[in-house]
Structures are given as structure tokens and as C-alpha cells.
């Protein structure tokens, strides 16, 4: 999983930071340590793939506050909380606010790795979905108004003849428009066309 994203490790304790990044790097996970939540927020760019592994209780901004700040900025990076203070109420609050997972120190390295792999996978999938959606959107942008009209009607399941009579054009013209839409959207079949129209809503 070398190229699948970075674990942004935030902990005020130098021992924990150093040992965890050593362990994770030995397991092949790229890690970027931060001394506190503030410096992470300053440095982080949303386009960086990865997930956050943060201590809950730190001087200054706490793990929960970091989570809220990330959400406030529309950053959807998965956050895994670490605590030396296993406390049910805090765990509930963190998970309710969308934390990816909540782990109690000291952690079993197998469990930690599993959770982090899941978090990275979720981040990867989210990015992939966003990317395919934005490329589909870009392609739909290139359609003319009439072509978009025809695409909507075809996606709704109407046959060519009915589309033609609704729009007051000949079925032959509908065929031509349809072929151009297929070409512009790079679809090979009608089914693919309908699926793409569906995903970009």
C-alpha cells in the first residue's frame, strides 16, 4: 500500500509520535508526523490523499476540535482518534461527529493497521468517485441543449419514435443526435449512456 496515501499522525507526545511513525513505516505505511493539530491544519491541503491519526487530548486544539475544524472547512479526510483515556462518552461524541474510528492506547498494532488501511481505502474510493463524477460532468457540459433534451428522454426509457414525435422532429434526426451524444460522452452502449446520465444527476 505504498502509494495509497499518507497517514497524518498528530500527537503531542514525542515518544508516541516517533514510535508509531517508525512502526507504520516498517509496515509500509507512509507517515507524516505533526506536533499539534494547529500545525497540521496549517499545512494540510485537501488534495493530499490519506487519513488522520490523532491523539484526543492535547494542549491547545483537541482531537475533537480538530475534527470539527476539518468538517468546517469541508475537508472530508477520514479521522481516526487515539486516546489514552478510554472514555465511552467521548468516543460516542467523536463517532457521532463523523470520526472514522476510535482506538484506545496502548493499541494492538494489527488492529491499528487494519483500521488505517480501511480509512485509506475509504479516502481512495471517495477520491475516485469524485474524480469520475467530475469527468462525467465535464463531458456532459459539452452537449448542446437539444442533445441534452434527447439524452434525458432516452434515459427515461422512451423509444426513438416517441422522442421524435415529442420534440416534433423526424426519428432519423433523433438517431443522428443520439450518435453524437454517444460520441461526446464516449459511451459504447445505450446502457452505459443511461448509467452515466444517472451518476451525474
Amino acid at each position: 500500500m505504498a502509494n495509497s496515501g499518507t497517514v497524518f499522525l498528530i500527537d503531542d507526545d514525542v515518544g508516541v509520535r516517533d514510535s508509531l511513525s517508525l512502526l507504520l513505516s516498517l509496515k509500509g505505511v507512509r507517515t507524516l508526523p505533526f506536533v499539534n493539530a494547529e500545525s497540521f491544519i496549517e499545512t494540510y491541503r485537501p488534495e493530499w490523499p490519506g487519513c488522520v491519526l490523532t491523539d484526543l487530548r492535547m494542549p491547545g486544539m483537541t482531537g475533537l476540535e480538530l475534527q470539527a475544524a476539518l468538517r468546517g472547512r469541508g475537508m472530508e479526510v477520514p479521522v481516526v482518534m487515539l486516546t489514552a483515556h478510554g472514555d465511552v462518552a467521548t468516543a460516542c461524541a467523536a463517532l457521532k461527529n463523523g470520526a472514522f474510528d476510535f482506538l484506545e492506547k496502548p493499541i494492538d498494532d494489527g488492529l491499528l493497521l487494519q483500521v488505517l488501511e480501511n480509512a485509506l481505502r475509504v479516502d481512495r474510493e471517495r477520491r475516485a468517485a469524485t474524480a469520475s463524477r467530475s469527468s462525467a460532468d465535464a463531458r456532459l457540459e459539452r452537449l448542446t441543449a437539444r442533445e441534452r433534451e434527447i439524452l434525458t428522454l432516452i434515459s427515461a426509457g422512451h423509444p426513438n419514435r416517441e422522442v421524435a414525435s415529442r420534440l416534433g422532429i423526424s426519428p432519423r434526426t433523433v438517431e443522428v443526435h443520439k450518435a453524437r451524444v454517444m460520441e461526446k460522452l464516449a459511451c459504447r452502449s445505450l446502457a452505459e449512456l443511461i448509467r452515466m446520465h444517472g451518476t451525474s444527476g
Binding site: 515518544g15 512502526l23 516498517l26 489514552a84 478510554g86 462518552a89 496502548p106 493499541i107 498494532d109
Partner: protein, 549 residues
């Protein structure tokens, strides 16, 4: 009254347990003995004597066991009149007087039992009711008894008023002196014996004082015809104030017994009737003083008990906070250690063939670190206990109670305390014990700060506690005129193990803040207008979802 308790009473009425037979027999024996012993200086041709300890016994029985015993009382009175005196009255007089007296005493006992006075007297109110009802009952008993004698032709009507007075004072005195003492038998007597053992020397001195008083009264009466009973008040007052109702009433009965013994030894020196009035005022005074002392003792003891409970729960909470802080502090290095060990395991995988013990050793090191972490977790869970129990609470009354428990300490530290009360505070949703701990902590912090000051300066030592409403919250502020918070601890004031006290652990404020945060409240500090520190407690008036750090 429900059916089951009615049948209960009926069953008891029909079939008396053996103890009741024993009690009845004991009562009759003691009654007749007292009746015989107190048959002194009767009014001519009648059985009207000026001293009735037997009535005290009657009242004690009826008070302790209820009006069901009235028939036995009537029988006792009848037998007593029959056996003592210079010849029995005709039964037409004996029967109605016995029944009448038993009825009057039963009514008095019923009235007192309704007030909860079937137990030893413990308050001045109780003493007042006891003395009042007894005086009235004595009046009724005396008037009725004399009326029956006059109508039976046994007493000249010209002597009626003096007879009523004589009978009344005998009854009243007998009850005041004997009934409270006998009622002591109803409760656990171990503390009484313990008290006697503990104060043996003091009690000897007090008894000596009483003997001296009695001797003085008689010596003066014999030598110079002066009736001086005031010296008796000193030892009895002393006993009453020191030992409450039990001591007071025991000493009154002993003084009565001593006086009567002295009267019996020196016939004719003082008429008994003359002794009765000082004795009566002695009894009533001792009863009231004793009740006051008992009430005061009880209030003090309750205050100390409450303080002890608070101290205990505070120690437990402190231990919990300690465990929690320790877990946090040790879990960090433990996490690092485990991760280093796992890393070392990974790094030494290629070397495993060189020495297989290496991998095993590292695995064991990891296991031991995990074991230590598990111990910490168990420790913390043990002290975590139940969560806070939020209930609507009057925050000011909690503050007042805590301050009251600390009043002695404040006095010792020469601190002036003021509870600036704002009326009309809404009740807050808190765990009462935890709020007590928080307030106790803040107040003792102020007191500790004052105590740490070198000498009593000219500056007034002052603590103020004020409450106000802000939005949906109640704010309680504790201000003091002490030295304030040292700058070097200011930033980390609410962290565990931070303190500037010589003997503190630095858990009080951290604990208090944790409590309040868990209840949707908060604790912070501000500069005080009194010159020292100011801590503000915020409490929610409505239940909030429990939030955490």
C-alpha cells in the same frame, strides 16, 4: 389504619407474650414499693402525700407501651391505696379514684405519644410539651381525686384547695423526676454507660457537689431555720449542660432521693411540702437545659458526620482522578514502548535465524507492557464508579451546607465568610455530592491559601460566595482576599498534579472541573475584586447531554 395492623393489635391484646407478663409484674412490684416508700407526711385522714414517684412510673409505662396498659395501672393504684396508709378507704371511693387517675394518665400519655415523646426527650420543644402536658394532667388528677374524696365525705371541703395543691405538686414532681429517666431504658443504653465510664472523674465531682448542696440545705435548715436550696442548682446545671437529658434527669432523681433520705434521717427539720417547690423548679430547669444540650450535641454530631461523609466521598473521587491521570500519563510511554518493541520485532525478522530467542524476547517484552496497561485500565475503571446522578438541586442550599461544615475552620483561620444570597435562583441539574465536593474544594483552597500566609496581617481575611442567573445557567462565584494564584501555575491550573500548596496533590481543581464538564457545566478563574482569586462555577438549569473533554 389498615386491616393487618388492626388484627396485629387484636392478637397482641388476646395473647400477651411472656415479656409482657414480666413487665406487668415488675411494674406492679415497683409501683407498690414506690407507693410504700413515698408514703410520708400524708394529709390527715387521707392518702394525699406531697411526693408521688409512683406516678412517674405510671407515666413511663403508659408512654413507653401505650394506653393498653391503663387497666393494669388502675389495678396498681387500687392495690396501692388498699395496702398503704392508715387503713383503706371504702371501695366505693377507691374504685372510682383508681379508674379516674388511670384514665387521666392514659390521656396524657396518648397526647405525648402523638408528639413522638414515647422516646427520651431530645429537644426543648419536646421538654416543653412534656412539662406542659404533665402539669395539666397533674391538675386534672388532683382536682378529680380531691373531688371524689370530698363527695365521699372523706375530706372536709375547706381543705380541698390545699389538698389539690399538695396532690398536684406531688404528681408533677414525681413525673418530671422519674419518667424521663425511666424512658432512657427504652433506647440503647450502651452510649450512656460509655459516657459514664469516660467522664467518671467529672461525675464524681458533680455528685460531690450535689451531696454538698443537700447537706448545706439541711445544715442551714437545722441550724438557722433558713431553707436554702440554691446550691443544688449548680451541680445539676453543670451535669445538664455536659451530659444532656440523661445526665440531667438522673441527677435530678438522685438529688430527690438524697433529699428524701435526708428528710427521713432528720424528721421534722423541713416539711416535705416546702422542699417540693425548689425540687420542681430544679427538675423543670434541668429538663430544659438538658434538652437544649442534647439538641446541640446532636446538631454538632450531625454536622461532623456530614463532613466525614463528604471527606470520604472526596477521597474516593480524588483516588479516581489520580487513577485516571496516572493511566493517561503512563499510557503514553506505554504506547511508545509497545510500538518500539513491535518495530524492533519487525526489524529483527531477518536475524531470527541467528538467534531465535530474540523474537521471543521481544514478544514477551510487548506482552509485559500490555499487561501493565491492562492493570492501569482496571484501576481506572474501579474508581470510575457510577456516573453522575443529575437531579434538580438548590445550589445555594448546598453551598450553605458546605460552608456550615467549614465554619469551625473559618473561625480558626480568622476568616470572615459571606454568602451573598440572591433570592429566586432556579434549581440546577447537578449531582449533589459532586457539587458539594466542588464547593468544598474551592472553599478549602481559599482557607489553605490564608493559612499559608506568614502572620495575621492587617488585611481582612474574607471569602465571599455569590450566585446569579445568566441565561439558562446559574453562576456561583467564590471570591477571596488571599494572595491569589501564583503566575507559574496559572496556565496549568486545572491540570492534574499542578499545585502551589506544600502538601497538596494538585487534584482538587482538576477533579472539580472534570465533574462539572461531565454535567454540562464549567469552572474557570478570573481576577477577584477582593484582591485574591475568584473561581466561577457554571451549572446548567436544564438537563444537557453529558459532554466530555
Amino acid at each position: 389504619m389498615n386491616d393487618s395492623s388492626t388484627t396485629e393489635i387484636r392478637r397482641q391484646g388476646l395473647k400477651l407474650p411472656p415479656q409482657s407478663w414480666l413487665l406487668g409484674a415488675g411494674f406492679l412490684t415497683l409501683y407498690l414499693l414506690l407507693d410504700w416508700a413515698s408514703y410520708v407526711e400524708p394529709l390527715r385522714d387521707t392518702n394525699i402525700t406531697p411526693w408521688h414517684p409512683n406516678t412517674g412510673l405510671v407515666m413511663a409505662l403508659l408512654l413507653a407501651r401505650g394506653a393498653r396498659w391503663a387497666p393494669l395501672v388502675a389495678f396498681g393504684i387500687f392495690t396501692g391505696e388498699l395496702l398503704t396508709g392508715e387503713g383503706p378507704s371504702p371501695w366505693q371511693v377507691l374504685a372510682p379514684t383508681s379508674l379516674y387517675l388511670a384514665a387521666v394518665y392514659a390521656c396524657a400519655a396518648w397526647a405525648l405519644r402523638r408528639r413522638g415523646l414515647d422516646r427520651p426527650i431530645g429537644t426543648p420543644q419536646g421538654a416543653a410539651w412534656f412539662a406542659g402536658v404533665t402539669a395539666v394532667a397533674g391538675g386534672f388528677a388532683a382536682a378529680g381525686y380531691v373531688a371524689i374524696l370530698v363527695s365521699g365525705g372523706l375530706l372536709n371541703s375547706s381543705e380541698a384547695w390545699s389538698s389539690v395543691g399538695r396532690y398536684w405538686i406531688g404528681d408533677f414532681n414525681g413525673i418530671i423526676a422519674l419518667t424521663p429517666v425511666l424512658l432512657l431504658l427504652k433506647v440503647d443504653r450502651a452510649p450512656l454507660w460509655e459516657e459514664i465510664r469516660r467522664h467518671r472523674r467529672e461525675l464524681m465531682l458533680q455528685a460531690l457537689g450535689a451531696v454538698f448542696g443537700v447537706a448545706l440545705a439541711f445544715a442551714l435548715a437545722a441550724a438557722r431555720d433558713v431553707r436554702l436550696f440554691y446550691p443544688l442548682f449548680a451541680p445539676v446545671t453543670w451535669v445538664a449542660l455536659r451530659h444532656g437529658v440523661p445526665g440531667a434527669m438522673i441527677s435530678v432523681s438522685l438529688v430527690q432521693a438524697a433529699l428524701l433520705a435526708a428528710l427521713a434521717l432528720t424528721p421534722g427539720s423541713i416539711p416535705l411540702f416546702d422542699v417540693q417547690f425548689p425540687l420542681l423548679s430544679l427538675g423543670v430547669t434541668a429538663l430544659f437545659l438538658g434538652a437544649l444540650a442534647t439538641q446541640h450535641d446532636r446538631a454538632l454530631r450531625q454536622m461532623h458526620d456530614q463532613d466525614a461523609v463528604l471527606q470520604r466521598s472526596m477521597r474516593f473521587a480524588v483516588a479516581g482522578q489520580l487513577a485516571s491521570a496516572l493511566t493517561h500519563e503512563l499510557n503514553q510511554p506505554m504506547t511508545a514502548m509497545l510500538s518500539y518493541v513491535r518495530s524492533a520485532e519487525l526489524m529483527t525478522e531477518p536475524l531470527a535465524r541467528v538467534d531465535e530467542r530474540l523474537a521471543a524476547t521481544l514478544r514477551k517484552a510487548g506482552e509485559q507492557a500490555g499487561r501493565a496497561a491492562a492493570v492501569l485500565r482496571r484501576l481506572r475503571e474501579f474508581y470510575r464508579g457510577e456516573g453522575a446522578r443529575l437531579e434538580p438541586t438548590d445550589a445555594l442550599s448546598v453551598c450553605a451546607r458546605v460552608a456550615e461544615a467549614l465554619r469551625d475552620r473559618m473561625r480558626r483561620s480568622a476568616v470572615e465568610f459571606e454568602l451573598r444570597n440572591r433570592a429566586g435562583l432556579p434549581s440546577v441539574m447537578v449531582d449533589r455530592t459532586q457539587l458539594e465536593i466542588v464547593i468544598h474544594n474551592l472553599l478549602t483552597n481559599c482557607l489553605d491559601a490564608f493559612d499559608a500566609l506568614p502572620a495575621r496581617g492587617s488585611r481582612g481575611r474574607r471569602i465571599e460566595l455569590a450566585a446569579e442567573v445568566r441565561g439558562a445557567d446559574v453562576l456561583i462565584a467564590v471570591d477571596d482576599s488571599g494572595p491569589g494564584i501564583a503566575p507559574n501555575v496559572m496556565d496549568r491550573l486545572f491540570e492534574p498534579f499542578v499545585t502551589n500548596k506544600m502538601t497538596g496533590m494538585g487534584l482538587g481543581l482538576s477533579l472539580s472541573r472534570t465533574f462539572l464538564l461531565h454535567q454540562g457545566g464549567d469552572l474557570w478563574t478570573e481576577p477577584s475584586r477582593l484582591g485574591g482569586s475568584r473561581f466561577v462555577v457554571r451549572l446548567a438549569t436544564e438537563p444537557t447531554p453529558q459532554t466530555s473533554l
